[in-house]
């Protein structure tokens, strides 16, 4: 079995994130970049399958030069090889370009049975990219899975969203995105970290992925940011210490604000 894990390097959510004033894209220079936590869970799921049924695990990441760190981390966890899509023309790529590029990278790999991804990245809330990649590859989307079973050429997943839960079933090959509830990811061992340095990582650019494609068409800017303004920080308001009357004072406030 060949499993592909799609991972992304994101700014640490525990730190402040800013948009560049020049082009309204994420200011990566001022951000602490880390492997998105959810990707570690997708990786863990791939490695569990690898241990159970035997599989080759390829990690794919699209991002600037620093994304190699995210790839190495996944290799240190136990993935076999990496594919780094690195091209300055992808700076500020929208979701459609991102999905097309990732789909092209997966197509380049041979005999892929399962594509795994995190269900949403913390730097872009929509969580639509895995479903978009599935659509472009003509694969069933089993997204937002908190449980995954692969057996006899089929994949089954327990999907969990705000609408409730659903059991999904599809034939392989398929794409699965996992939620943070699916597992607890392992830590890379020292041995794993050392081994990761020797594992093969191929670096490709858009010309490799889309030979002969006119990039003005492919990279057409579909959306344009008119302006981006930091929202004013919320100022602290009224503060009281409960002396037994906080409930009464609070209801008075809510009434004054016409909230009750």
């Amino acid at each position: 079995m060949h499993i592909v894990v799609l991972v992304k390097q994101v700014p640490d959510t525990a730190a402040e994130r800013t948009l560049s004033e020049a082009d309204h894209t994420l200011d990566r220079e001022t951000a602490d970049l880390v492997l998105d936590e959810i990707n570690e869970r997708a990786t863990e799921e791939a490695l569990t399958l690898k241990e159970a049924v035997g599989a080759e695990v390829t990690v794919v990441s699209m991002g600037p030069g620093t994304a190699i760190d995210a790839i190495r981390k996944v290799l240190a966890m136990g993935a076999d090889r990496g594919l780094h899509i690195c091209d300055d023309r992808l700076h500020g790529a929208d979701a459609v370009t991102t999905a097309k590029t990732l789909a092209a990278a997966v197509r380049r790999l041979e005999d892929v049975d399962l594509v795994l991804a995190g269900n949403t990245t913390t730097d872009g809330q929509a969580g639509a990219v895995p479903a978009m990649v599935a659509d472009l590859l003509g694969l069933p989307q089993l997204t937002h899975a908190r449980e995954l079973t692969v057996d006899a050429g089929r994949v089954r997943a327990e999907r969990e969203t705000e609408n409730g839960e659903a059991t999904l079933d599809a034939p392989l090959p398929a794409l699965v995105s996992v939620t943070e509830k699916i597992n607890e990811p392992r830590y890379p061992s020292f041995k794993g970290i050392m081994a990761a340095k020797k594992k093969p990582v191929e670096t490709v650019d858009l010309d490799d992925l889309f030979p002969g494609v006119d990039d003005t068409g492919f990279l057409a800017t579909r959306t344009h940011v008119v302006d981006a303004v930091p929202r004013p920080a919320r100022a602290a308001g009224i503060r009281i210490t409960d002396d037994g009357s906080a409930g009464r004072q609070l209801v008075g406030y809510l009434i004054a604000q016409k909230l009750v």
Partner: protein, 321 residues
């Protein structure tokens, strides 16, 4: 006026409020045309309320397997409708399902995708809140069909009764090799409470609630205020409350009129999911809790002392008023 396609969110019998919000916003851009994807007979049941909210056309994409497969039938239906009417834009609700459908449609048609919009003006400029509410971005689609996912609760739906024409969209059979079949479904147990992202009041509990039992007081306060219940990631991770109620970076984003945080410290990941709320009230024992610094009304105190008193006071005022 060009058509603006609106994907209808429904449970087979009832149209969700978020759809009326989409129809209201769609009117700014053109003639709202509703696309109903469901089993045969669904569109006929939903036509009247859709027309009452301004849908000039109801496109019926019906098949017996329409609700058996995840997302694919809705993507196919919208793609068919787009080819038929060449709309000015496609609007969907920014739910998990809606975001995925919007993304797939945009990917197929090479359209421009704008997600997490909280407003769209008549020139098609969408306002988005990014990085958990730390930035307001205004963006527009400059190439290809605009596909916009609008957060539920972003506007007040307006009734605008019209005569709705009905058209059929012939859904192709679902490609089983390219689609995930839904073999079982368990609805979220919302009970009588409003949906978290649609509620005007949200009461959330955190680690300070100290157990599943402790959440009873969170629920009671929510019920007293007619609100929804939320939970911080710490509370969900500790098993106090189900994941589907998680508010924050990796859960849901809410912006109700009133958000009450009980025993929540206010990690940046939590603030990301609620700091666009109109009014924030926080109760926390720890005077250093960061949530107290973003609250409009902060109480340093024990939630188990403050919340029951608040419930009592609300009940008294209700009876008096």
């Amino acid at each position: 006026m060009p058509d603006v396609l609106v994907l209808v969110d429904h449970d087979g019998e009832r149209v969700h409020k978020s759809t009326y919000e989409l129809l209201t916003v769609a009117r700014r851009l053109g003639d709202p045309a509703a696309v109903v994807v469901g089993t045969p007979g669904t569109a006929a049941r939903l036509r009247e309320p859709l027309a009452r909210h301004g849908a000039t056309t109801v496109h019926a994409a019906e098949s017996t397997e329409a609700d058996e497969f995840l997302a694919t039938p809705a993507v196919e239906a919208l793609e068919l409708a787009v080819r038929e009417v060449s709309p000015a834009a496609v609007l969907v609700s920014a739910t998990t399902d809606g975001n995925e459908v919007a993304g797939r449609l945009a990917a197929r048609l090479d359209g421009g995708l704008l997600t997490d919009a909280v407003d769209v003006d008549s020139s098609g400029v969408a306002t988005q809140v990014v990085f958990g509410g730390s930035y307001t971005v205004r963006a527009q689609v400059t190439h290809g069909l605009p596909v916009i996912a609008l957060r539920p609760g972003s506007c007040e739906p307006e009734e605008r009764p019209v005569e709705a024409g009905e058209r059929e969209l012939a859904l192709p059979p679902v490609d089983r090799a390219a689609s995930a079949r839904i073999t079982a479904r368990r609805a979220a147990l919302a009970g009588d409470r409003p949906e978290l992202t649609e509620a005007t009041v949200v009461v959330s509990g955190g680690r300070g609630v100290a157990g599943a039992d402790g959440f009873k007081v969170v629920e009671q306060l929510a019920d007293a205020l007619g609100g929804a219940v939320g939970a911080s990631r710490a509370a969900v991770d500790a098993g106090y409350y189900p994941h589907q109620y998680q508010v924050g970076q990796t859960g849901k984003s809410v912006s109700p009129q009133l958000y009450i945080a009980l025993g929540i410290s206010g990690a940046i990941q939590h603030l990301a999911g609620m700091q666009t709320s109109k009014t924030i009230v926080a109760v926390n024992k720890d005077p250093e809790a960061p949530i107290l610094d973003v609250a409009d009304y902060a109480v340093v105190g024990d939630l188990f002392a403050v919340a029951p008193r608040l419930i009592q006071e609300v009940a008294v005022r209700r009876e008096a008023g």
